[in-house]
Amino acid sequence: MEIGNVIKVLFFASLREKVGCDSMIFSLDDVTTVAELKKALIKYDPQFIPVLEGKVLSAVNQELVNDNFKIPDDAEVAFFPPVTGG
């Protein structure tokens, strides 16, 4: 049986605190975009609504991407607030 696309999802800073954990494994039936992954997470648990709506940056395999980016298999997807280093 196909397991589908297994994605490691990471959260940082204020998002990590809102979710209450720093990472989770999420499985999707199909290749999907970042926007679709956000929707799937919200559908899975509405607690993601305040986490993922609003100003959130996304990185796939450690590169900043936009919502239309297609997530490859076995990817690491990170969600975090706008950065404040320097």
Binding site: A59, Q62, F80, P82, T84, G85, G86
Partner: protein, 147 residues
């Protein structure tokens, strides 16, 4: 060329490394960012710097490479600290050398503007009223748009 570390750095050592045996460059520009005692109207006691370890060096590397493709640069050094920092502590160092000053001045600004908006670091401040995550500053996004 890039260092992400809990340890402090010594500006004199970094300056020496940028100019040592570097006869072709006539300009060196460096910037040091420090922890301020006030931010967004509150007194700051100290701060915690979180980052995304697997991504941080990649992101910084990319920023330095972009700078190198835009200007003719000699050496570039970029240091960013993580972990617990107190008032007046050094947070970030960017040092750039080039034949003439214009490239170094611009590249140092470019690197800081991109670091401020694309490198995965987050500051959490401790104030007398409690802890809070620092909000990203729109001015930083505006500063980046000039490039």
């Amino acid at each position: 060329m890039i260092r992400v570390t809990e340890d402090d750095f010594n500006v004199a050592d970094e300056y020496r490394a940028l100019i040592n045996d570097n006869g072709k460059d006539g300009a060196v520009v460096f910037f040091v960012g420090l922890v301020r005692d006030m931010n967004q109207g509150s007194k700051i006691l100290n701060l915690q710097l979180e980052h995304y370890p697997a991504m941080t060096e990649k992101a910084l590397q990319r920023i330095v490479e972009q700078a190198k493709s835009r200007w003719q640069l000699g050496r570039v050094k970029l240091i960013h600290r993580i972990g617990s920092l107190s008032i007046n502590d050094q947070i970030v160092f960017v040092g750039v050398t080039s034949q003439h000053r214009e490239a170094s001045f611009q590249a140092a600004q470019f690197i800081m503007d991109y670091l401020k908006t694309e490198a995965p670091f987050w500051k959490k401040e401790r104030t007398p009223e409690g802890e809070r995550w620092v909000d990203a500053n729109d001015k930083d996004t505006e500063a980046k748009s000039r490039w």
